[in-house]
Symmetry: C2
Subunit: 348 residues, 2 copies
């Protein structure tokens, strides 16, 4: 396996724990292509990166009453799309003998790492903001993880990176985590053929970059003609991408409370996200709870138990379709299972 | 479509709302065979019984560290295996013009019916025992269902059946609900080939009878040689099957509190369950929370987020394997998603 820096082009052989470019500091990518990735088992994931499994991936797609395709990625084993990346990241950690993996998370990524660490028979220590949803913290503990609370999401990240014990496997910079996301592209192609737009919430960018990486390999292999236009959605008060990319929609009346999965003020891969969006003529939207909540309710009333963060993507898709800014085959990635919230007492 | 009574042999053509034998009062079965069932889309479900979908079925199977195959059926759209039956039952209700479906449920079946009713654009009214888990009641409301609380699970059933409005679609007697369960057999065969034992919790018997019915059709079609031995698991204080079948294991120190999915004192299809177990030389076990909880914890520590009811099945499989009462390829059906409990505050 070789690693490559998307920004400065630096290349290097795989070295245990090397996540960041030694020249420019950007998080690295695995230098994969479809020849090394497209596997007999019908996935894009390098075989050496699936040493454990909990049955992740191959989630259903359904068409909403409004004609939008919903990828129910919250039906992954631990209840979020993060399982796709946790399986590859934990496998890489296992391959270098880690007995304790360390992650910072607002919830889903920590739950996912805890589940896969448990599956692999190793320990997980998860740094979370103190105000992460109680249900998510409960799940971390039930999965056997050690939970460390930090004052903010950003502080949780700082503490996790500087923890001297164990292996830091943080999804925000981990190149192997991204590899696990690629199958999402493959599954969309298999289920829906060519699509026009893929809409998803944006926090650390792992979903968007992984999707782009998967699609690039499929284009290279001639499986599809083009990468769909990607639409990234952030929440009011946490619009970290505006530093690098201009939103086409900004509905921002008050700081978002609900979408815990995207309440981050910064992330290491945002410049790369901006570059990808620019190349693909992708779109970027910032909205608030007031706009998103009726769409969350709409999803649930249609039997789709997505979490608030996922409804942010759906809301933007619906709004952009209404105003005819996007059309054709539109897919929304529903990223997290709303049971985590609603079982905890949230009213929808 | 024809309906048949397993006990007295009475046969009749499909009539809207006819669930129970006019001669002997037993709940009817759809008189299907593999020729009418095995479909181009690769399922055993009659096409007229899939008018709505939320992407149910095709759930993963993983192998536990202890060598038991775990069918993660809690990864169905609304978080339980009941989605398999709700899709067919709601479709039948739709086909006869129902605008309101009525169900009695301890939680999962109601959630499932609410989700599919929402998907179909009709109303659901769910009768639940007042002590159903709060997280499950919250989910029902979030899905837009009308929730009616009853003093007990049995009283919820009585009230639902006698509700004069809408269509009673109760999973406990609904023949179409059972049809939706058959694919579980097909998926086990496709994923694992021939298996020796299938272990599952037993409440109303829909899972067990549906599994048996699916397997019978596959045997008839020559897809597999035999039906696996089925193992039914009930909870201490709710061992309703003992009237008809002798348990091979009974560990009963105190009345079970945790497995809300199997805390029923009676069910209409138990005599049929007993007949099936007898014919297949199946097994029946009754255990308590004290035995089940360490296994619930074992599952979660391995990243498997099953609910307590599901852990009852796993516990029995582990115990029977330890004492060498069962061996070979053993599958446990994990029926409900534990997120519904743990997000609500349960400590594991």
């Amino acid at each position: 396996m070789r690693l490559v820096c998307w920004r400065c082009g630096f290349q290097t052989e795989y070295r245990p724990g090397l996540y960041v470019c030694e020249h420019c500091g950007e998080p690295l990518l695995v230098d994969s292509d479809f020849r090394t990735s497209l596997r007999e088992d019908g996935t894009l994931i390098p075989r050496e990166l699936r040493l454990v499994t909990l049955g992740e991936g191959r989630t259903p797609v359904i068409k909403s009453r409004e004609g939008i395709y919903l990828k129910l990625d919250y039906l992954n084993p631990s209840g979020s799309f993060k399982d796709r990346g946790a399986v590859t990241a934990v496998s890489e950690a296992l391959s270098r003998g880690c007995k304790l993996v360390i992650e910072d998370s607002s919830g889903n990524a920590g739950i996912s790492y805890s589940a896969y660490a448990g599956r692999a028979g190793i320990k997980a220590r998860i740094y979370v903001p103190y105000d992460a949803p109680a249900g998510k913290k409960n799940m971390l503990k039930a999965l056997g993880a050690e939970v460390v609370e930090a004052p903010t999401r950003d502080e949780a990240a700082r503490l996790a990176v500087s923890d001297p014990e164990g292996c830091y496997v943080g999804h925000r910079i981990n190149p192997y985590f991204l590899e696990g996301m690629k199958d999402l592209a493959l599954e969309l192609v298999r289920g829906l053929g060519e699509v026009d737009y893929v809409v998803s919430p944006l926090a650390s960018g792992t979903l968007l970059i992984g999707l782009w990486k998967g699609y690039m390999e499929l284009v290279e292999a001639g499986v599809v003609k083009r990468v769909p236009k990607l639409v990234a959605v952030q929440a009011c008060g946490y619009e970290s991408l505006t530093k690098y990319y201009k939103p086409c929609v900004s509905v921002c009346r008050s700081r978002a409370q609900l979408p815990d999965g995207i309440r981050l003020t910064d992330a290491p891969r945002l410049q790369h996200v901006a570059k990808i969006l620019k190349e693909l003529e992708g779109l970027y939207a910032v909205i608030d709870d007031e706009l998103a909540v009726p769409y969350l309710r709409e999803l649930w009333r249609e039997g789709v138990v997505a979490e608030p963060t996922s409804a942010y993507g759906y809301a933007v898709a619906r709004e952009l379709m209404k105003e005819k800014s996007i059309s054709g085959k539109v897919v929304v990635i529903l990223t997290g299972n709303g049971i985590k919230h609603v079982s905890g007492g949230m009213t929808i």
